[in-house]
């Protein structure tokens, strides 16, 4: 359950709960009273199977990437998790228990790779393609690893922190007499 009905009076906490909370053997932190599970990349798929079948998280709601290049020392991680540049964040929803769980994993800057969750939840199809397109994270075993939002021949991964926004400078000029010729 989220505490977003307006009852959240305490500021967010970044570290673990009072005595290190765990789920399935992995550390859990709390952020805005929401549970966040931190899973290493090697245990990714196995943990997801357990979360789906044992913990009854029937639905994958969201999967996104995050690039921590400019904010490496984030405090939202438990002490024993080694921060890397990229993270993949997954939101799970249990309809039967009316519960949400966020799961995060760390991926190295050099070759961020993660096994695909397509066989666990089919929703991962489009969501992983978006993370791959915008961050350059490779999902092994994904049935269709092509770009989804950018044109197929686009170079670069736009949501990375070292990819510029692409803002063009706006210049104000005096109005010209007559129509400008071409552009």
């Amino acid at each position: 359950m989220t505490a977003i009905e307006g009852d959240a009076t305490e500021p967010t906490t970044g570290g673990p709960a009072s005595d290190a909370e765990t789920l399935l053997g992995f550390p859990v932190t709390r952020s805005c009273s929401q549970r966040v599970l931190h899973v290493p990349a090697e245990e990714w798929v196995a943990t997801m199977w357990r979360l789906r079948d044992d913990e009854h998280f029937e639905m994958l709601t969201d999967l996104c990437g995050v690039d921590y290049l400019t904010h490496p020392g984030r405090s939202t991680l438990p002490p024993d998790v080694d921060p890397q540049r990229f993270e993949v964040v997954v939101e799970l929803l249990s309809l039967s228990k009316t519960e949400r769980l966020r799961v995060r994993t760390q991926l190295p800057a050099a070759a961020p790779t993660l096994p695909s969750l397509y066989e666990v939840w089919a929703a991962a199809d489009a969501l992983e393609r978006e993370a791959a397109d915008l961050y350059g994270i490779t999902f092994e075993g994904h049935p269709d690893p092509n770009r989804i939002l950018m044109p197929e021949d686009w170079e670069g991964h736009p949501l990375r922190k070292d990819y510029a926004v692409g803002r063009i400078p706006v210049q104000f000029k005096a109005p010209q007499a007559g129509r400008p010729r071409g552009r």
Partner: protein, 449 residues
Amino acid sequence: MTLDHATAATTGGPADDSFELGELPAPPRGVKSTELLRHPESVLRLSEEEAQAPADPDDPSDDETTIMNMGPQHPSTHGVLRLILELEGETVVRTKSVIGYLHTGMEKTGEELSYLQGPTNVTRMDYASPFSNELVFSMATEALLGIEVPERAVWIRMLMAELNRMSSHLLFLATNGMDLGAVSMMLYGWREREHVLRFFERVTGLRMNHNYIRPGGVAADLPPGWRDEVLALLETLPPRLDEYDVLMTGQPIWRQRTQGVGVIGAAEAMTLGATGPVLRSTGIPWDLRKTMPYLRYDELDFDVVVGTYGDTFDRYAIRLNEIRESIGMVHQIMDRIPAGDYRIQDKKVTPPPRGRIDESMEALIHHFKIFTEGFKVPEGEVYVAIESPRGELGCYIVSDGSPRPFRMHIRAPSFVNLGCLPHMMRGGLIADGVAIISSVDPIMGEVDR
């Protein structure tokens, strides 16, 4: 499901206790998602080059089916969605949906804008229900700030959100009608929508993309005389909705074109991550306003409208009846909305009233800081989800303590619901495909962001 009136089976009640989710088609242990889908091969996987390559005349299997392109500019009014269809005659075998034609880099832009400017950005994602986007972003920001919005602001937000649901579903009825040939429905739907948009213009100043729901509350209080306007609106709608029932629901042509078309199963919908009317049409009464209430939805009395067959007709009937439910909810909100502040009185978050700027130096400095630099949000991460007219709309914000979000990601319901398209379209005709796309009601602004 009763066929003589558009009410599908309904469940639900005021408080959580009496509401039952019922039996859920949970996936059996170890069963892969592809086994839960009836036809996992109905998703066409084709790159641009392969799609453009001409058929090989010497390969008999290549000759059997045609690859046809539909969109991104096509008359179905759902924006820039492109579908590559593999057809056998006129029957759709496999589908690939190509998106990205409206990719605006909004998540990247969101990292450059302050939290006060954030709603202007996100409101343009799902442009048919802009209040939903603003609401989820503001709620996420408030969760990170750890502040509580005043009571009146909460009820105003609910009022606008429900009116927005009505206008979005009216847009769906209009476009759905037109796609299926009932062109007069297009004009009727827009006629009703204009009433709602006129009210929005009175309150927020804009017909669309309002930037009204902001972190801390809402931008301005409701204008005097708003009750009469809303009541007038709520009185005109029900007889018109009955007209649409007669025009469409009871009509044999409509029935034939929508019943049994675009069927999706409950287990399929769950593994594909579908939410909103798509999921509810399969019989699962999952509505976040009822199951994981936010704002003050737990104090309102309304039903969750649910379908049975998971087809296009069910999705249409669900949305039509959700308008009716929203009408009831707006009546209740109007009765119970309290007096009070329309935004939180926290000086660090809310800009001071304009008159104060001339009197107080402190007010001037706060105004300046809030509008140029923005207010700082403590470090953390949060995911907030609401029930938008299309499904679960979520906002994931990572904050690094600065006045700009470090990462802002919107979980768009249409983006995930589009994954259901190939499975719904398999075995149908192209004309059915138009009906199916329309029944999923995607808004490409939030699909592509």
